[in-house]
């Protein structure tokens, strides 16, 4: 158990020290989400009606949830690259704790997710977003965000170990996650969608988590969404973490 913790930290450190050296990655974490916020608020914002809320207030929790779900992408790309370059073989030949390579990756994602949430939130505050909630609720919202992002890192970890190249991980992950985030309450009110999409959007975990965030940060009616959001995040981890670790154990380098 102690080995698992230290090995996980060593791997997390490995994935974090590289960040300042990859300006392109850093750009993806910061500039790109800010660009989306500005485009949505100023291009679509006027045309989307969100009764009861300014569009900025409506959008910020949604776009932060979308963004954090994609935060794990680095894990998929990184693991796929490690497999192709034989690094996974090296790790698997070392006497280290088996889940540490994945646990270290996903833990590093939490750090980068904090970074991108802060960047987005500051952008939001500058263009007019404001909390309507207690400090406790704001903090709980942060925790939910980070947990949900962590859960998606495990999905991406499995994806990265399954596909044949970083490019494939990129396009598959995008195809799978992008529609999921759009057919939800993240960007528009669900009742503005056609009924078939509404049905999907209502059961979509993104809707549940976005609604939870709006209730925690804006004081919107919560329903079951807050505990539902935590339950979804934990359920995703419970399913995908063991699957990813099992895959890692048998992972064969493709070199």
């Amino acid at each position: 158990m102690r080995r698992l913790v230290t090995d996980t930290l060593v791997i997390a450190e490995r994935n974090l020290v590289r960040l300042p050296r990859s300006p392109d990655l850093l750009l993806a974490f910061t500039v790109q989400p800010v660009m989306f916020v500005l485009l949505f608020v100023y291009v679509f914002g006027g045309a989307i009606s969100t009764p009861g809320y300014d569009y900025v207030d409506f959008l910020i929790p949604g776009i932060i949830v979308q963004n954090i779900a994609f935060g794990g992408f680095v894990t998929a790309l990184g693991l796929s690259e490690d497999l192709n370059k034989g690094l996974i073989d090296r790790f698997r030949s070392l006497p280290m704790a088996r889940p540490a390579v994945l646990a270290g990756r996903t833990a590093a994602d939490v750090v980068t997710n904090v970074l991108s949430v802060v960047v987005l939130l500051v952008t939001g505050l500058i263009i007019g977003f404001s909390f309507h909630a207690s400090v406790g609720e704001v903090v709980l919202g942060f925790l939910l965000l980070l947990l949900f992002g962590y859960a998606f890192s495990w999905i991406f970890a499995l994806l990265g170990l399954l596909v044949s190249s970083p490019e494939a991980a990129n396009s598959l992950g995008f195809i799978a996650v992008f529609p999921l985030t759009f057919i939800s309450s993240a960007f528009v009110p669900v009742d503005s969608m056609p009924s078939a999409l509404q049905w999907f959007a209502d059961v979509n975990p993104f809707t549940i988590v976005v609604d939870a965030m709006r209730s925690l940060w804006l004081g919107a009616p919560a329903g079951n969404s807050v505990w539902g959001g935590f339950a979804w995040a934990l359920a995703i981890i419970a399913v995908f973490a063991p699957l990813a670790v099992a895959r890692y154990r048998s992972a064969a380098g493709r070199a």
Binding site: R21, G86, S93, P95
Partner: protein
């Protein structure tokens, strides 16, 4: 006061080299199939401590699959593997503490510096940060990477990457080292320097199993060679033993006038059991009897008026061995690396 991890590391270092003569690697009846393909089909190997076994074979012969099973990366379908006295399946976790693996593709993190790469590996072997850093420093020095230690490995040359990769495999001073095609894709100078490094390790008592498709590499480094083809060991022994199996010495005659090759073949046919053949203007044959062969050949050629530019006897090379044993040349189905040699 040394920490527990340091004690393990020191203890491991002290135990080396293992008593000479005992088997450091022993493999019996190893089998691995992928779908309907038997990639490894009943391989037996025995490597005495402190020696080098060269696993020689073309691409797709089962070399890498064998190494992957020996290094616990892949579970065998059948067979028994003992490395450094430990069972590769039942004792996999402990075995990983006693082996080093340098793969076919330099497995280094390009975004980390050379020093960071080695420190990371050291920490994953259970060393403290300070121990790992010290060990990294030693290895960087030894592999002439001290100058590049603080640069990301992305900017390293192919030879530097291989050296870093090999250094990573040596972090825990493993008594048994696996090298999967260690010099594939390297330029001749880097290749030679890597050979010298490997020879140095063996001199220090490390047991090495190396795979290669290069006959000169096996010839130079390996104490014993196992020739593997289509998942089976088709011959093994020392380089000399293998060469003896192919038979007698080769006589090679370069003619003044290549047009006379036909006449030369007729004149020399009696010296060999097989018919002489012509390869790029040189007449070649395996002589039945070494003694007097040169004089005999010169006289026979003179008698029929064939002029000789050059003439010599040579021992068969491992290339001849490979061709004779497998019926195809060593690198015939080598797609990726042939041009780099």
């Amino acid at each position: 006061m040394p920490s527990k991890a340091e004690e393990t590391v020191l203890e491991r270092a002290d135990r080396r080299p293992a008593a000479a003569g005992e088997a450091a690697i022993s493999v019996r009846g190893l089998v691995k199939s992928f779908g309907s393909v038997r990639a490894v089909d009943g391989v037996d190997l025995e490597v005495r401590a402190g020696t080098v076994l060269g696993l020689l074979g073309p691409n797709g012969a089962g070399k890498t699959t064998t190494v992957r099973m020996l290094t616990t990366l892949l579970k065998p379908d059948a067979g028994e593997i003992r490395v450094a006295g430990l069972d590769a399946v039942g004792d996999a976790a402990r075995l990983r503490e006693r082996i080093g693996l340098a793969g076919q593709y330099a497995a280094v993190d390009e975004n980390l510096t050379g020093a960071e790469n080695l420190t990371m590996v050291g920490r994953l072997y259970g060393m403290t940060r300070a121990q790992a850093k010290r060990r990294a420093g030693e290895l960087l020095e030894r592999f002439s990477l001290t100058e590049a230690a603080k640069r990301p490995a992305r900017g390293y040359s192919g030879g530097m990457r291989r050296r870093l990769d090999l250094a990573a495999a040596l972090v825990a001073r493993p008594p048994v080292l696996f090298l999967d095609e260690p010099t594939t894709g390297l330029d001749p100078r880097s290749r030679l320097s890597l050979w010298e490094t490997i020879e140095g390790l063996v001199a220090d008592g490390t047991t090495v199993l190396l795979t290669t498709q290069y006959l000169d590499e096996a010839d130079r480094l390996a104490d014993k060679i196992a020739v593997i083809d289509r998942g089976r060991v088709i011959a093994d022994g020392t380089s000399d033993e293998l060469k003896d199996r192919v038979g007698g010495e080769r006589l090679e005659v370069t003619l003044d006038d290549p047009e006379q090759a036909g006449a030369a073949v007729e004149a020399l046919a009696d010296l060999s059991d097989e018919r002489p053949f012509v390869e790029s203007g040189v007449v070649k044959l395996t002589v039945r009897e070494r003694r007097g062969a040169i004089v005999d050949a010169v006289e026979r050629l003179k008698a029929v008026g064939v002029g000789v530019d050059d003439l010599g006897l040579r021992r068969p090379t491992l290339d001849d061995v490979f061709l004779t044993l497998t019926g195809h040349a060593a690198e015939s189905d080598d797609e990726q690396n042939g041009e780099q040699r």
